[in-house]
């Protein structure tokens, strides 16, 4: 074979041209990517390289009215992992589980967190102990995607004593993430789960910061990115509440572990919540960073239901504490005066229709006027008063006095009391059927705070602020706000004095005579409410006391309820101690009296 020089020259040129075009084509491709589309690829490279690590902001402190700390933040540790696929996350968890014990449901939980949002590190432990963290640090090299951060951890120095009030914090749930109210929240964040923490979430949350870490192709953390890219978190400002922490502690101390019930203490001039407690309580500190399963089960299995707020959610028949509502309704309508006696004297029972209605005092009170009837809590008097008012007006009066509405306190789970609604015929027909009730008969029970009436402790306390103020009910406020008054009733001053005198008489010589306080006139009303629950044939009663002190220009209103606590005097004694503690006065005497 021979190559003619011309042919070779032609082919050489052809080859050179092909070569040239190919190189130009390749360079063009690179020019397009490196120069024309540089920005796009540069961003993609940064996104590859950098992962966002949230820096949790410290929640705002919660302070009492004097600046004492109710909720604060202590250093804690969060352990999270950066993974780009679920199987690699599980692989890391499997290795972590060899060093720190992890239940399989915990691993499932972490996987679920990952599926919710994988761009941020997935939290494994939101509150790890120092010991645990140092153990993990020892094996640092085995866990390249692991991020251990110091994060502020919620702490309640008084723990269980403030649980009913502050609630607790916890990781945002799936439902919350989907809710409008939590728009802007992200997977893994801590939010208020109850009480003040939940109510004032927006004021307490602070602004989350962010830093960036550099990760490799497998999502392993290589190093922290430049410090200037870090956005520091901004803690929220402290939230000052109306709570008197000293009183709150005292209240919780009185209840201890054995009693079940609730206390609400209000300042009647403003509606400020001075103390609010529900017993038995729980330790909110154990809820922070995930509730231990055993503790959660224990709380849920407890028949006394520690997680149910007995101050806000629990509804109990108010018993004789409601006689003041009956009295005020009748007085306002002009159906009775403080001095008026009823036609039938108390002989221990009152015959209505074919049924006797009992008084709590079997031997009877004889003939009493309204003031004495309040002092002695005579049921027979109030049966007759109830009949005189009539069912229609009795219920309308109860509704007017706030018996059917929420207290309006600035806390979640403020339950609506259970009270007949208007029109009452519809209400009773719905409840008992058209023939299940007749005429005035429900009035007898309603007049003494039984029957179709269950009040929350906080709502009863609100009603007693109206008694203390001469008609103005104050909406309870945990956090300072403009006082909100609602005019519940209008009585002339002589009648008001009479009512106050009767309430003072309850404590000085009536059913709560054991609960007097030296130098302070305490006014209030006991209640012993039938619960409908029987043990060995005996009905258990809820013990109530609602009252205020001093009787003139009152400084504190207290409502105490002891679930299945028996006689109202027990509640009165607790209320008396609370008031005494608050007013710094000493009790005078402890007299034994017969029950109401």
């Amino acid at each position: 074979m021979r190559f003619h020089p011309n042919d070779v020259q032609r082919r050489s040129r052809g080859a050179a041209a092909a070569l040239f075009l190919t190189i130009v084509f390749l360079m063009g491709s690179f020019f397009r990517a490196q120069v024309l589309q540089h920005r796009r690829y540069a961003i993609a490279a940064e996104e590859n390289r950098l992962r966002e690590v949230p820096l949790a902001a410290a929640r705002g402190l919660i302070l009492d009215r004097h600046g004492a700390v109710i909720a604060e933040n202590i250093p804690g540790y969060t352990v999270s992992v950066l993974a780009h696929r679920e199987d690699s996350l599980r692989a890391v968890l499997g290795r972590v589980a060899k060093i720190i014990p992890m239940a399989s449901d915990q691993i499932e939980l972490v996987s679920r967190r990952f599926r919710r949002g994988s761009s941020r590190p997935t939290v494994i432990l939101s509150s790890a102990s120092f010991d645990l963290v140092s153990r993990l640090e020892e094996y640092r090299l085995q866990f390249p995607g692991l991020i251990i951060q110091e994060t502020p951890k919620r702490y309640y120095p008084d723990g269980a004593a403030v649980a009913a009030l502050v609630g607790y914090t916890g990781e945002i749930s799936d439902d919350e993430l989907g809710a409008e109210a939590f728009s802007g929240y992200k997977q893994g964040q801590q939010v208020g789960k109850g009480g003040i923490e939940k109510q004032y979430e927006t004021r307490l949350r602070g602004r989350e910061g962010v830093r960036f870490v550099e990760v490799d192709a497998r999502g392993r953390v290589v190093r922290n990115a430049d410090a200037e890219t870090t956005l520091l978190p901004e803690p929220a400002a402290a939230l000052t509440t109306n709570i008197d922490l000293d009183l709150q502690r005292y209240v919780a101390g009185i209840f201890g572990d054995s009693l079940t019930g609730a206390v609400v203490a209000l300042d009647p001039s403003t509606g400020d919540v001075l103390a609010l407690h529900s017993a038995p309580t729980f330790d909110p500190n154990r809820f922070v960073g995930g509730i231990p399963v055993a503790y959660w089960r224990q709380l849920n299995d407890d028949p006394r239901k520690p997680l149910l707020s007995k101050a806000l959610q629990g509804r109990y028949p108010p018993g004789s504490t409601w006689k003041l509502a009956t009295s005020v309704t009748a007085l306002e309508l002009g159906l009775v005066t403080m001095e008026e006696r009823m036609a039938v004297p108390c002989t221990g029972a009152f015959q209505y229709g074919n049924r006797p209605f009992k008084c709590h005092l079997a031997r009877g009170h004889g003939l009493l006027n309204l003031q004495q009837a309040i002092e002695q809590s005579c049921d027979v008097y109030f049966y007759q008063l109830g009949l005189r008012i009539g069912l229609q007006r009795l219920i309308a009066g109860g509704i007017k006095l706030g018996g059917g509405s929420r207290s309006g306190i600035d806390l979640p789970n403020d339950n609506r009391p259970s009270f007949p609604t208007e029109p009452i015929a519809d209400y009773f027909n719905r409840k008992y059927g058209a023939r299940g009730w007749s005429g005035n008969s429900p009035s007898l029970n309603l007049a003494i705070g039984q029957g179709e009436n269950s009040q929350t402790v906080v709502n009863l306390a609100r009603f007693y602020t109206a008694l203390a103020n001469g008609g103005d009910a104050m909406t309870p406020h945990v956090v300072h706000a403009e006082p909100e008054r609602t005019r519940l009733f209008e009585l002339d001053s002589a009648t008001l004095d009479g009512v106050r005198a009767a309430l003072a008489g309850v404590v000085s010589r009536g059913t709560a005579a054991a609960s007097q306080i030296q130098g302070v006139v305490l006014a209030g009303k006991t209640g012993t409410a039938q619960s409908g629950r029987f043990v060995n044939g005996t009905e258990l009663d809820h013990a109530w006391f609602a009252g205020f002190a001093p009787a003139v220009a009152p400084k504190i209103v207290v409502a105490v309820m002891i679930e299945y606590g028996g006689h109202g005097t027990r509640a009165a004694r607790i209320a008396s101690k609370i008031i005494e503690h608050y007013l710094k006065a000493a009790p005078t005497q402890f007299l034994k009296t017969e029950g109401e």
Binding site: Q9, A15, L19, I23, F30, A33, Q34, A45
Partner: protein, 415 residues
């Protein structure tokens, strides 16, 4: 006319410059923030370069006549090695699925298919040079096709798609250099084109009409015309069947080539990360050893098949343009060697070798930027690997010899 003097120093200098840049690139590929075990590869690569230079020097001492003489045994030996490989070969790197490596007691010795390229080039050159003229018909293409076809089949059985493509590139390039008519080359290639286009009936139909028109224009032998048309019909129909017989990774790679975004976390992931590395380099790059994509392990096989993105990321478009420019210059020098050689065998060998380098550069560089399929073939002088470095420098050594012996003709190409 022979002159025993005059080594083509620009050619050697360019190859040496590219190799040194290559060692530097391998060094940079080892500078990562994650443990990759690549940190010291540049030392080994330097050693391979030294070995390559030694081999090149030795090869440059072999006369063209001797080379011509020893071509058949070299070729036969290579074929035997490839057959042997089908039984003892193992995978490595991006080619985990292919049996391209020879191991002796657990130590990888090399990839015979790299050297097989050179063997195929010299054998094809010998066959073509032995003819009185360029092949005029498909029948006359049979022998050359057999020379390339046998090693090609053995390599496709490994399977090593990339190297297979190089063989095809060499085949057509050398036929072109031998003066084969372009219509004949198109007709020869047409069944493969049909195979590829068969996935779209409309496009294949258009191609088929063009082919029939070409047959009438070129007027080859009637039997050959029928054979070509029939072959196109068969491959056009057989394509889907052959597709089904491909291994999943080959199917995926082909699909991903057609649409890189179709499979972002698997095959396409590599292209995407490679493009991100290159694109984020900008005009001047992130600085030598500072590429974040590379440092953090986003580049697959950054020391071998994907070494060019390291250059793109760290040295930017300027670096890319320089390297491609140097390659272009080197290849033009090689074409010049081929053009100046009076000996047809020598000229064909030179052109075969440059076409080999050309296909490697085009496919390797093209795949990193997404204009070529990922076939896993290395970049000459850059990619880490002993056999390949040796192949590259044997190529240079041969070209030096050919340049020394081929100075009889006036420059057909002034570079």
């Amino acid at each position: 006319m022979r002159r025993a003097i005059g080594v083509d120093f620009p050619l050697v200098g360019l190859a040496l410059l590219l190799s040194i840049m290559g060692v530097a690139a391998v060094y940079s590929a080892g500078q990562t923030d994650v443990s990759t075990g690549l940190a010291n590869l540049w030392r080994t690569q330097s050693l391979y370069l030294a070995l390559g230079l030694g081999a090149a020097w030795m090869v440059s001492r072999i006369s063209v006549r001797a080379l011509d003489h020893f071509t058949p045994p070299i070729y036969i030996g290579t074929l035997l090695a490839l057959v042997l490989l089908l039984f003892v070969g193992r995978g490595a790197g991006t080619g985990q699925h292919s049996k391209s490596w020879i191991y002796i007691s657990g130590v990888s010795i090399g990839q015979p298919s790299e050297l097989a390229k050179i063997a195929a080039v010299i054998m094809l050159a010998k066959v073509l040079a032995g003819r009185s003229g360029a092949p005029q018909s498909l029948a006359e293409l049979a022998r050359p096709a057999l020379v390339i076809g046998v090693p090609w089949v053995l390599i496709m059985l490994q399977p090593d798609l990339g190297t297979g493509l190089v063989f095809i590139g060499i085949f057509f390039a050398m036929l072109f250099w031998a003066g084969t008519d372009w219509t004949l080359l198109v007709l020869a290639a047409s069944p493969v084109v049909s195979l590829v286009l068969a996935f779209n009936t409309g496009i294949w139909g258009a191609w088929f009409i063009l082919l029939v028109a070409l047959v009438f224009y070129a007027r080859p032998h009637i039997l050959e015309s029928i054979a070509v048309v029939a072959a196109n019909l068969v491959t056009g129909v057989a394509a889907p069947i052959i597709w089904a017989s491909l291994s999943p990774y080959q199917q995926r790679r082909l699909l991903v080539f057609l649409d890189p975004s179709s499979d972002p976390l698997k095959g396409g992931y590599h292209v995407m990360q490679s493009q991100i590395a290159i694109g984020s380099g900008g005009w001047f790059g992130k600085g030598f050893t500072n590429g974040t994509q590379k440092r953090l392990g986003y580049l697959p096989e950054q020391q071998t098949d994907f070494i060019f993105p390291v250059i793109g990321e760290e040295l930017g478009f300027v670096g890319v343009a320089i390297v491609l420019g140097l390659f272009a210059w080197l290849m033009l020098r090689c074409v010049r060697v081929a053009g100046r050689s009076t000996n047809p065998f020598a000229s064909l060998v030179a052109f075969g070798l440059v076409s080999m380098i050309f296909v490697h550069v085009l496919i390797n560089v093209g795949m990193t930027i997404g204009v070529m399929p990922i076939t896993g073939i290395p970049l000459p002088f850059f990619s880490y690997g002993g056999s390949f470095m040796l192949t590259c420098w044997l190529t240079v050594g041969l070209l030096v010899r050919l340049s020394i012996e081929g100075r009889g003709r006036a420059d057909s190409l002034v570079i």
